[in-house]
């Protein structure tokens, strides 16, 4: 079953065609990759999918729903979560609070329930806290729960961002360069981790990455962008041999 489908998706910034004719059919439960040189339009795709950018043309359909008119928060409620290329954590909040903010969108109680501390609200808080602890356990940040998010080492911040995104209970997780700044050992751990969360949370993953080793070993399918156009798409072994892909990454 196709969870996310884009048809001829594209966006123009004035005269610049940042993305054109982007077609993707993401099956449920798959782990796809989006690669290409810097400036190719990969994060633009994520911004379009998550609602931070309006397309100039084309469609995006998620689980049978047209995403076009939906603002970012509504897309997250539908089940599309993302992380950012430059980590965007709530730096002054604690690690635990960051994850709890992720759960907030799934609240059923209203603000006055919170102010009056009514039983339904209390129950919800307790439940969300328990789930937050479980998520922190998964990313191995349990011990850092009360620390200020801005003070965590880089690798931990990346993990926290993923935990926070998982808290929104997504069906599709868009990861923007999750391995950036990680050493080879950490990268291997990340690969295992991504496979685990996909299984445990029944996720579909779309990953932007520069780390070709990770992408070739982890992803089932790759889409290669260059200057806003799709120059190749297919399973990793094919992409490795594709002349245009080689040219884009290694030059002539």
């Amino acid at each position: 079953m196709i969870l996310l489908e884009t048809q001829q998706l594209g966006v123009k910034f004035g005269g610049l065609l940042a993305l054109d004719n982007f077609n993707l059919a993401l099956p449920t439960g798959s782990l796809y990759g989006l690669i290409g040189p810097n400036g190719a339009g990969k994060t633009t795709v994520f911004n379009l999918l998550s609602g931070f950018l309006h397309p100039s043309h084309g469609d995006m359909v998620f689980a049978g729903q047209d995403l076009q008119k939906l603002p970012p928060y509504a897309r997250t409620l539908l089940g599309v979560a993302r992380t950012f290329q430059n980590i965007r954590l709530f730096e002054d909040l604690s690690v635990m609070d960051n994850v709890l903010v992720g759960f907030h969108c799934r609240r059923r109680t209203a603000w006055w329930d919170g102010v009056l501390r009514l039983p339904d609200y209390r129950r919800e808080e307790k439940e969300q806290r328990l789930r937050a602890w479980a998520l922190l356990e998964e990313v191995d940040l349990r011990d850092a729960a009360q620390e200020r998010a801005g003070q965590l080492p880089y690798g931990h911040q990346r993990r926290l961002e993923i935990a926070r995104a998982l808290a929104t209970q997504p069906r599709l997780l868009l990861l923007d360069e999750p391995a950036a700044g990680l050493n080879p050992q950490e990268t291997l751990e990340l690969m295992d981790f991504l496979r685990e969360i996909r299984a445990r949370h029944a996720l579909t993953l779309l990953i932007i990455e520069h780390n070709l080793r990770l992408v070739m070993n982890l992803c089932e399918h790759l889409t290669v962008l260059d200057h806003g156009l799709t120059i190749a798409a297919g399973p990793p072994p094919e992409m490795q041999k594709h002349p245009q892909v080689i040219k884009a990454y290694l030059g002539k």
């Binding site: 998550s50 931070f52 603002p71 970012p72 928060y73 997250t76 409620l77 979560a81 993302r82 950012f84 965007r88 954590l89 709530f90 730096e91 002054d92 909040l93 609070d97 709890l100 903010v101 992720g102 759960f103 907030h104 969108c105 799934r106 609240r107 603000w111 919170g114 102010v115 009056l116 501390r117 609200y121 919800e124 808080e125 969300q128 926070r164 995104a165 808290a167 929104t168």
Partner: protein, 351 residues
């Protein structure tokens, strides 16, 4: 549980102090104490929008004005209105209506909240400096309207002779309610969401938070308390006019919450107290006096100069305000107490 006991104990202590003041303190001191409470209400709710939610809202004077005028127009009797509205009579049905204080006050809060809801839609289409200008603009619009709608507000003549309904109990009662509500909100999931929005609104949106709804909540809630505070202020001063509620009032509130520490409710309480008391205490510099044998003439406006200097010093040494983002908790009170009166039990020496 401990915290609840401490809180209740604190409230009891407050009630005792208020009772004592009510019975034994002079009128002037009672008035200052009442004013302190009103400013606590205003500052704490202002802090909700500026400190906790991170939006530079420069229009609270609009809501204070609306609350003050609404409450006043409802408490005045038709006979009084006839006398006050010299140039143009008050519109119907307000000219015939007169309600008890409690309902007028509540109406003031609700009308202010209603305007908050309506203006929230245009206001939150923008952010940052633009939001500041839009809210500032709205503050000015309300003042100008109050000055010109002769048949509604009596224009620049203002409304005089209000009954002094505001007692120390009303003012402090409202202050306590405001602090409880704002703190409860701040410590709830919705408060966390507001803090997240302040930190990084884009990330908050990506986490499924409808930031417009949350910001509107803070804005309307604060407008409600501004309205109530305005009503209380009106019935304390017993005379209101449009030039009482200029941007200067907003500016003072801004100073209070910045000095107290943006985002800290206890900081706002402390700062409101200091600001109001210092403002009154510094009146003496405007009277001529003799210092060390030298006669010093009273200079009007000197109060503001010294005030500004004091403010400067506070900000230089406490860059993020007196309390920063922290709250002064009961634990801190105990700690301060222990510092002053260290326990000297034999068992502690065995360590």
């Amino acid at each position: 549980m401990k915290k609840l006991l401490f809180n209740l104990g604190g409230l009891l202590l407050l009630a005792l102090c208020l009772y004592g003041a009510d019975r034994f303190a002079g009128d002037y001191y009672l008035r200052v104490l009442t004013q302190v409470a009103i400013f606590i209400t205003l500052a704490v709710s202002y802090n909700l929008v500026v400190g906790i939610s991170g939006q530079l809202h420069l229009g609270p004077n609009a809501f204070i004005t609306i609350g003050a005028y609404t409450a006043t127009l409802l408490t005045l009797t038709p006979a009084e209105k006839d006398l006050i509205f010299l140039m143009k009579p008050l519109v119907w049905p307000l000219s015939q209506v007169s309600l008890p204080f409690v309902w007028s006050l509540l109406a003031g809060g609700l009308v202010a909240a209603g305007f908050g809801f309506l203006t929230g839609f245009p206001v939150f289409r923008v952010r940052g400096d633009y939001l500041a200008i839009v809210t500032l603009g709205f503050g000015e619009v309300v003042r100008v309207l109050a000055n010109n709608l002769q048949g509604l507000t009596n224009g620049s003549l203002g409304l005089k002779g209000l009954a002094p309904y505001t007692t120390i109990w009303w003012a402090w009662g409202l202050a306590v309610v405001t602090v409880v509500v704002v703190q409860a909100l701040k410590n709830s999931g919705y408060g966390r969401a507001l803090a997240a929005i302040r930190q990084d609104e884009t990330a908050a949106r990506a986490m499924g938070i409808n930031t417009f709804q949350h910001l509107l909540l803070a804005y309307v809630l604060s407008a409600f308390f501004f309205g109530l505070g305005g009503g209380l202020l009106a019935h304390l001063i017993t005379t209101i006019s449009p030039n009482l509620f200029t941007f200067f009032l907003t500016f003072n509130l801004l100073i209070i919450i910045v000095v107290g520490g943006l985002g800290s409710t206890t900081g706002a309480v402390l700062s409101a107290f200091l600001f109001t008391v210092a403002g009154e205490w510094l009146r003496f510099v405007e009277e001529p006096q003799v210092v060390l044998g030298l006669p010093i003439p009273g200079i009007p406006g000197m109060r503001q100069v010294i005030f500004s200097l004091a403010l400067l010093l506070v900000i230089i040494f406490f860059r993020r305000g007196l309390l920063g983002r922290r709250e002064f908790s009961w634990g801190d009170t105990v700690r301060v107490f222990r510092r002053i009166f260290p326990a000297r039990l034999p068992s502690s020496d065995l360590r």
